[in-house]
């Protein structure tokens, strides 16, 4: 389906995961002229990836939590919102001007209100050899499974920490995949540290679901706990994984596909480029945009919903999306404060329920420093092939933060624009300087937040504003 991009709308929502679908549906039903942009060809974001098209039609494979995502589609498609798939948003200004490309053509659209729902991405997992072909994220394996019914063949090893690791392992096994080993990097000390949050966890649905998944996986997969170091070894592709259990000596296993995962973090590239304020979250060890209880960022007219506002999971994302949609309608004068607050009540209750237990999970699965701060020879920046040692040496020369670093090294200047190195570089600098990551800050990002071709840029419709903007020199 290709949709002509208009020149203006009331509300632009970016991202068709649970938060975006729910926000757009809510706002459009209240009468806002709403456009939902998404980069993928089909809705669902990452957590509900391929929900309209997956070959894995047997529901038991991906599980009911996944299929729940289907419930978001009908309300969205019935709401009157315009859906633009295959759309890469490369710029959003504080005034709500959206720069977007569809099928190689770039356009500018003016929105009165914007909701960013770009979700999360996997936390970088910089181990030696992580750039070798055959090393991928667990999320990548999950996408290949959902979208194309593909499982890795041969020796498959999963490594890392976090609830998604167990979910993906279970889905893989149900789909007929084989897993040679699961290397669990959760530090044993995390268990006692997480205990204070146990009551919330016990009262949540995570306990039963989590235990079921872990049992299911442990029945069929060799699980090695307390893994303290990891390395991918190989020439042109990964051939072995080397690991060391805490207090033990190095063991090597042959491997064809190594799948890494140590949690997800908000995707802040767009919110940072717009200029929204962000803060360092010491519990989740990542930067999170500043936002209020409706998702409104530090900039009026730019709201953020879902995991992009802070990691809380798929269910919380859809409730936050509805709250952001309600607030959009209130801000644009469609409903009053009272109507908004009344309509919000059930969503707030559902949100609180969805968030129960998360603090326990956050603390339990807090990744070990050894896996956040790579060894000196390990690549911190994949795109520009910069090692951790090079970053540390730059700090010794006086570099205070990731932006000054860009003048010495090319960290953050490659195509991924810091998505796979930003947190690593910030933490490396913080550690070398002996200050908290919040004091170091993050890359200063500007649009385009995704590369745009010269052809696309040149195809932007001319405006007479461009004439006035020229300085002869």
């Amino acid at each position: 389906m290709s949709a002509a991009i208009r020149e203006s709308c009331d509300l632009a929502v970016i991202g068709a995961g649970p938060a975006g679908l729910a926000a757009a549906a809510t706002a459009a039903r209240l009468g806002l002229d709403t456009v939902l942009f998404d980069e993928q060809p089909a809705p669902g974001g990452q957590i509900y990836r391929a929900i309209t098209e997956t070959p894995l039609s047997e529901r038991g494979v991906l599980g009911e939590d996944y299929w729940h995502g289907g419930a978001l589609l009908e309300p969205f498609f019935q709401s009157g919102a315009q859906y633009v798939p295959g759309a890469t948003v490369w710029s959003v200004t504080r005034e709500g001007e959206i720069g977007v490309s569809v099928a190689g053509a770039a356009r500018l659209l003016q929105a009165r209100h914007v909701i960013l729902a770009t979700g999360a991405l996997e936390r970088p997992f910089p181990i030696p050899g992580w750039t070798l072909p055959g090393v991928m994220t667990c999320g990548a394996a999950q996408i290949l499974l959902k979208s194309s019914g593909l499982v890795a063949a041969g020796q498959v090893v999963l490594a890392g920490s976090g609830p998604l690791l167990w979910l993906i392992a279970a889905q893989y096994l149900r789909a007929g995949g084989e897993i040679a080993a699961l290397l669990d990097t959760t530090p044993s000390a995390n268990w006692s540290a997480a205990l204070p949050h146990l009551p919330g966890f016990l009262a949540s649905s995570y306990l039963a679901k989590g235990m079921k998944l872990v049992r299911e996986v442990k029945r069929r997969v060799k699980v090695i706990a307390h893994v303290a170091s990891l390395a991918a070894i190989g020439g042109d592709r990964v051939e072995e994984v080397a690991y060391r259990v805490f207090g033990g000596s190095e063991t090597r296993m042959p491997v064809d596909t190594l799948l890494l995962h140590q949690g997800v973090v908000p995707n802040i590239n767009l919110s940072t480029a717009i200029g929204c304020a962000h803060g360092w979250d010491p519990a989740q060890l990542c930067f999170t945009p500043v936002s209020d209880e409706w998702g409104m960022s530090s900039l009026d007219g730019i709201a953020i919903a879902g995991d992009g506002a802070g990691i809380s999971g798929a269910l919380a994302a859809e409730h936050r999306g509805r709250l952001a949609g309600l607030d959009a309608a209130r801000r644009l004068g469609r409903i009053g404060d009272d109507a908004r607050d009344r309509a919000a009540t059930p969503h707030r209750t559902a949100l609180a329920r969805a968030e129960r237990g998360r603090r326990f999970l956050d603390r339990l699965y807090r990744p070990a420093e050894a896996f956040r701060l790579p060894a000196p020879e390990t690549l911190a920046c994949r795109c520009e092939e910069v090692t951790a040692q090079q970053v540390q040496e730059a700090v010794a020369l006086g570099v205070q933060g990731p932006n000054q670093l860009k003048s010495f090294l090319r960290c953050g200047m490659g195509p991924c624009q810091g998505r796979l190195c930003g947190l690593t570089v910030t933490e490396l600098i913080a550690k070398a300087r002996g200050v908290p990551p919040g004091a170091v800050g993050y890359y200063r990002l500007r649009p385009p937040v995704k590369p745009i071709t010269l052809a696309e840029l040149a195809s932007l419709p001319r405006g007479e504003a461009a004439e006035k903007a020229v300085v002869r020199g």
Binding site: P55, A140, L150, R237, T257
Partner: protein, 98 residues
């Protein structure tokens, strides 16, 4: 190395990679098609020439850059396959003028 645990039941699509034909299913991304065909590396880096392959499959890592129908540095994981598509793996710096 990847295998189909479940066929999509959609149309078969043929594309070429560096001139060699491979088969895929409608609905695959180009990255998925490459992995399903056993292609290990889709490019070498412009910095050191090291081989790279898709890493995140969601458009974030930019490792899956290939030339598609003459246009270079396209993210294979975001591009659905089409019958007759010409894929070229990228060696180092992308040539200007393509």
């Amino acid at each position: 190395m990847f295998r189909r645990a479940k066929e999509a039941g959609t149309a078969r699509v043929s594309l070429s990679v560096d001139g060699r034909p491979i088969a895929a299913e409608a609905g695959d991304s180009v990255a998925a098609a490459l992995l399903a065909a056993g292609i290990t590396a889709c490019r070498t880096t412009p910095v050191s020439g090291a081989p790279r392959a898709p890493y995140c499959m969601m458009g974030v890592c930019f490792e899956c850059l290939v030339t598609i129908d003459g246009i270079g540095s396209r993210q294979a994981c975001l591009t659905p396959v089409r019958d007759g598509m010409r894929i070229e793996t990228q060696q180092g710096r992308r040539e200007a003028g393509r």
